[in-house]
Amino acid sequence: MKPNKNKGRIVLPSARRRYINNYWQLYAMMLVPLLYFLLFKYVPMFGNILAFRRYKPLTGPFGVSWVGFRYFNMFLKDEGFIRAFKNTLTLSSMNLIINFPIPIIFALLLNEVHNLKFKKLIQTFSYMPRFISTVVVISILTELLSPSSGVLNRLLQDTFGLQPIYYMNEPDYFRSLYIITDMWQYTGWSAIVYLAAITGINAELFEAARIDGANRRQQILYVTIPTIMPTVMVMFILKVGHLLSLGFEKVLLMYTPANSTVSDIIDTYVYRMGFQSSANQYSYATAIGLFSGIIGLILVSGANYLSRRLTGESVY
């Protein structure tokens, strides 16, 4: 633009200049958080290339030389890894089968409680365990089940004369304990979504069912459940998508060498390879982590795709 041409006219800044004038503050605002976000979320993501590189101490997080799929070939033949992979799938599918329907049933029953004060009380107490630290949950569990002083062993001993059992150390009980504590911690909280869905049902549907002579059980079976089915489907698909991500911290807290045959999952295996083995096999552990991360990503996007196809709802 030549200045003399614009003599006597009002100079309008170009669209680009106007855009910058309007919005530079917004960009300035997000600059620090964005860089911060990239540093702590995306740098480690690229750090995954360590899975293909040899690690040397004190040379930074990206390794020193390429080794290709060496570590992948190693862990695919590693019995420890195969055991961990199987344990992960077993534990999380058992957990899904048992702990998926329970919050739905809980929400359906809670919705039938018409005394509002009592309902509120139940909600308060059943949501609370979600906010208790896993450490506290497992500590309480350890005390309840303690072979010397725990209340369960004392009860069984006094009433049936059974010998005390060290439940936390027995492989046979690990999976049940994992599932029961999950139930205790998350049933109330997971029910919130279903409760909201139930509350959203048009009252006229129930009215119509009542006129047709449906009792409360029939209303639940023929009105409530079919209406919340889309929500149930979406939640189920999501859960399947997260099949590989178990509560790693809880498993680590419950892990003992004695129950490791069932309690060693992929994440604890990565943890042990990376931090507890004498050699700090960072590259090897990264390779395993990357492998399970990619499977997880495939599961999540597959689940999301299915959800969009089947219910028209995609979550992400």
Partner: protein, 293 residues
């Protein structure tokens, strides 16, 4: 709702009501009994615990366990550490997330969609445990307070809750403020933040609970003088750390049980006490987050 009254008689099914209320009482018991048990243990005398007399109420009321943990310097240190991580972590987190979420709520901003995609993608694929650890250690953060605070300041889930909240505020409010000569920083601070107290309380609480409950990152990043209280508790329970005279045989072993119970209780007390008053914020956050982003 006149019609409701007419049909209510048919609705009444006593067996059904009995089942519902029985199940709900059971749920109530299951949620509270473990805590009652721990409270009872922590206030009982070691003699009563050793004889297996304690179940739901303290026997031979005693505050010996609390006397012991309050005399144990590591407990206070760990507690102070946890408070420090929670307060600083939550504050930094809120500032960064507000500054990030506000621009991201402006869909007409160039690049906004792309950054949102980056945020969502990072929820489903991340650097694993080892790359994260190596980043923290090569930044020189291991063994410092910052290792517990900085890496967790931006939580994608909470960020999306906040972005959606900012989107829901009517644009007209901002336009009026623009005409009055406020810039975006002014709008954010003077107009939006006062409207967002509920949303900020919600994500602030989630963040605070996260920091309060964390132990694993303390385990891999810190050495013992910086341990948070949850990590100390874990070490006491699995026997890595002994408290006071505890850990011996006989009488002392049962002191250990009372002491463990007292640590369990005191470490989670702030959450148990505050939670009932803040419950509505938590639930609100859960529901906003469940709505598609």
């Amino acid at each position: 709702m006149n019609s409701k009254r007419v049909y209510r008689i048919k609705d009444r099914s006593p067996i059904f009501t009995v089942i519902v209320y029985t199940v709900m009482f059971f749920v109530l018991l299951v949620c509270t009994l473990p805590f009652l048990y721990i409270i009872a243990m922590s206030f009982s005398s070691s003699d009563a615990i050793l004889k297996g007399k304690v179940s739901l109420f303290p026997v031979d009321f005693s505050v010996e366990a609390y006397r012991q943990i309050f005399a144990y310097p590591h407990f206070f240190r760990a507690y102070k550490n946890t408070i420090l991580y929670t307060v600083c972590g939550t504050a930094i987190s809120l500032v960064l997330m507000v500054l990030f979420a506000y621009p991201l709520s402006k869909t007409r901003l160039k690049g906004q969609k792309f950054v949102m995609k980056l945020v969502v993608f990072s929820m489903f694929f991340s650097g694993g445990m080892i790359p994260n650890y190596l980043l923290i250690s090569s930044l020189g953060l291991t063994g410092t307070v910052f290792a517990m605070i900085l890496p967790f300041a931006i939580n994608q889930f909470n960020l999306i809750i906040l972005v959606n909240f900012f989107k829901s505020i009517p644009e007209e409010l901002e336009e009026a403020a623009r005409i009055d000569g406020l810039n975006y920083f002014g709008i954010l601070i003077q107009i939006l933040l006062p409207l967002s107290t509920a949303a900020l309380a919600t994500i602030g609480l989630y963040t605070a609970v996260f920091f309060w409950n964390d132990w694993f990152y303390g385990l891999i990043y810190l050495n013992s003088e910086l341990f948070p209280v949850m990590l100390l508790l874990r070490n006491i329970v699995n026997g890595t750390t002994m408290v006071g005279e505890a850990g011996g045989v006989g009488d002392k072993a049962s002191v250990a049980i009372a002491v463990k119970s007292a640590v369990i209780l005191t470490s989670t007390l702030p959450i148990i006490l505050l939670y009932p008053f803040l419950q509505k914020y938590f639930v609100k956050g859960m529901l906003v987050g469940a709505v598609k982003g």
